[in-house]
Assembly symmetry: C2
Homo-oligomer: 120 residues x 2
Amino acid sequence: MTTVNRPGAPDGHVCGIDTAMEVIGGKWKVLILWALHERPHRRFGELRRLLPGVTEKVLASHLREMEADGIVRRVSYDEVPPRVEYSLTEDGRRLNDALEPLAAWGRERSAAGRRGLPAG
Amino acid sequence: MTTVNRPGAPDGHVCGIDTAMEVIGGKWKVLILWALHERPHRRFGELRRLLPGVTEKVLASHLREMEADGIVRRVSYDEVPPRVEYSLTEDGRRLNDALEPLAAWGRERSAAGRRGLPAG
DNA sequence: GTGGGTGGTTACCTCCGGGTGAGCGTGCAC
DNA sequence: GTGCACGCTCACCCGGAGGTAACCACCCAC
């Protein structure tokens, strides 16, 4: 998603931002990242409860994509009932760190109470 | 877009990230931000040429939204032919700064050549 | 046997962000 | 009067991300 066909970079990306945007471009991905950052080794149902409104299908596909992107690690234990644990990879942790300034910006904006109002 | 109805914050946001994600959640918004960061006071047609593939409609609506979000300033000169200049507000500049680490992460990832491959 | 909890998959369907193409209103060049 | 450049706006359409709901396999508690 959000792939921009643009010359200038071999992979069609302009400035690294859109590379990152592709990775975090799912509706719930940053929240998953956040949940996994707060505490590593989250289980599927735990994540689902932490993200009220997400459906199993979407959560599962998001996690698959993030695993394929190398930012989430999935460990499945061969038990009954089945147990699966998700955690951040090193790359995922660095992505989360890179998101912190953005989060700070958002928090500032929320604190300032502006939610679509023109800036002063 | 990407609005998550979630308790815990008065505005339905969890951690500031999704506040930011809403603001930059358009297909071309980060690129507009980038173009406006490289040089302030871009004209409409200039931006269109800088973002090959964007349509007038989408560029216009993106700019309107960013203006409403207070990160872009729009100055219209009453001339013929009409001239409109776009620039970043202070908030927009800070947003761009907050995006830098993310861009660095993306550049690193591009440099590492991984584009969806599992992490090693 | 019925229900619950585990972590999914599958088949549909909805919704809206974004793409397409046209038109507008002005003045200048031809 | 025809066309162009500018910076849009409007009406329409499409694709895909995401939502809905059912189902699967397993075991335990009742």
